[in-house]
Amino acid sequence: MKSMWNDQGGSFNPASAADYLAPDPLRQLQLQRLRATVRRAYDRVELFRSRMNERGLTPDDVRTLDDLGRLPLTVKTDLRDTYPFGLFASDMSEVVRLHASSGTTGKPIVVAYTQEDIEVWANVMARTFAACGLGRGDIIQNAYGYGLFTGGLGAHYGAEALGATVIPISGGNTERQLMVMKDFGVTAICCTPSYLVHLIESGREAGTDFRDLPLRTAVLGAEPWTDAMRRHIESSSNLKAYDIYGLSEIIGPGVASECVAQSGLHIFEDHFYPEIIDPTTCEVLPDGAEGELVLTTLSKRAMPMIRYRTRDITSLVSERCPCGRTIRRIQRISRRSDDMFIIRGVNVFPSQVESALLRVEGTVPHYQIVLTRHEGLDQMEVQVEMTPEVFTDRIGSLEALQKKLGDAVERTLGIRVNVRLVEPHTIDRSQGKAKRVIDRRNL
């Protein structure tokens, strides 16, 4: 049995034990924790209580895990409407940490943690790193932003709980990132996938080839990315690039993580209970069906969350993973139901555009989609940053490249788009998070 637990070179981390629970004890644990969470939310949070009362439900109506489907859903605006502290279930004297979202649209959302919550968070992040094959002796460069954003501190505590060495470098300052990476012998990095691509490019421009570094593992999250992007990263470095998943409303990073099999993300379902629903009818769908991921926290104290709609589209995988973990997986999330835009009647996800662009040899994961309206007609322009690899001094070759990119997107979407080659570093990478769509149509 023990041999199954070894992710890499026999480096099993005890924190990961819960990943290998047998189904029955796991379901029992989930039910017990679910009932306690619903009770706590009902007793202490006005919003949850009034919504359950409206449906004539009390916490005692949750007798099985399936009963969860009867409870009301929670959405992001519920957090905004109760800003700042309306969903807290703990007195401030027990809250040891607050984080907040960036609040690009109006007020931010605020999330709270008790000391126990922080410990759970460190545990699930340690399990995340262990699943990516990391352990004691690894030097982890944590380039997620430290601050109100949950990424930086979440990964930091997890790396320490794992027993690895963490470098709290935070985001930005590319030159210093490269220097530290080289000089400190960094073996793993945490950041957004678009920032890693930026680091690899900047390294190349400054004469640092990532293939010459001891860096082996990239733990990437905080924005949706595709397998094509993963191939791009892995072929320009010695990295194995792992996808992790999380959201502040639930805990931050550490909700789910890929393992060395790189085939779906294990959801730490002893702490976060997943459901998949039809986003239109809100009906619960069986394992294997694609729909919107809905999460319920099973152990959060300061801010329990009941059936939170993530807007992320995925499916649950219940088949056993080759890595030996028994907890279920979710498929890689490459789209969000609210990322989708409609142009000339066609539903488009940015990830489709990304895959199409990356199919063209030698290009270029930095892109942005700009939507405009011209005399009543929607126009879609894909701006793609020029790279030294594909640049030549011949106009004809660049026009051919432009055409190839346009054709690739057209084949995927079925509509003609304008491709514009732009200078490097002109597409905004604020906070390391790539903004993929700019909609200037004033809909």
Partner: protein, 145 residues
């Protein structure tokens, strides 16, 4: 005999051309000659500078996409038919000429042109065989002093 040309990618919008020129200026590098090729959406600035390695480093450090291409400088008699004769020789040799532009410097009664061939080494050989003067970098930059 080949000369290094730096090519810089530009977006076709106001103010884009001055940036690489300013970068070269701040690095104390003089542009010997240049040409600009553009489409509606983007352009390519091609420059010949004496310290091309320093120029390349400065442009890269400033975030420009740059590449280095070998080009050939050819002396052309500055009189009607001077260029036509050379182009005919190139045609006859079956060499593929990608583009060309002129130097601002002259050499006596001759103008100097920059030619970009698909295969510069073969082109130099053919031109010399046809009795056409190819100018090397050392000679060329001496004239700019």
């Amino acid at each position: 005999m080949k000369i290094k040309q730096l090519s810089v990618f530009l977006e076709n919008k106001p103010g884009q051309l001055s940036h690489p020129c300013r970068v070269l200026a701040d690095a104390g590098i003089n542009i010997v000659t240049l040409s600009l090729a553009d489409t509606q959406q983007f352009g390519i600035l091609r420059v010949i500078v004496r310290q091309w390695q320093e120029g390349l480093d400065a442009l890269k450090a400033a975030g420009c996409v740059v590449n280095v291409t070998d080009v050939v400088a050819v002396e052309v008699p500055d009189r009607p038919g001077g260029l036509a004769t050379i182009l005919e020789a190139i045609e006859k040799a079956g060499m593929n000429l990608e583009y060309m532009y002129a130097f601002t410097i002259r050499s006596g009664d001759k103008a100097v042109l920059v030619f970009r061939f698909e295969d510069p080494d073969a082109a130099i050989h053919r031109l010399q065989t046809a009795g056409i003067d190819v100018v090397d970098g050392v000679e060329l930059y001496k004239r700019t002093d």
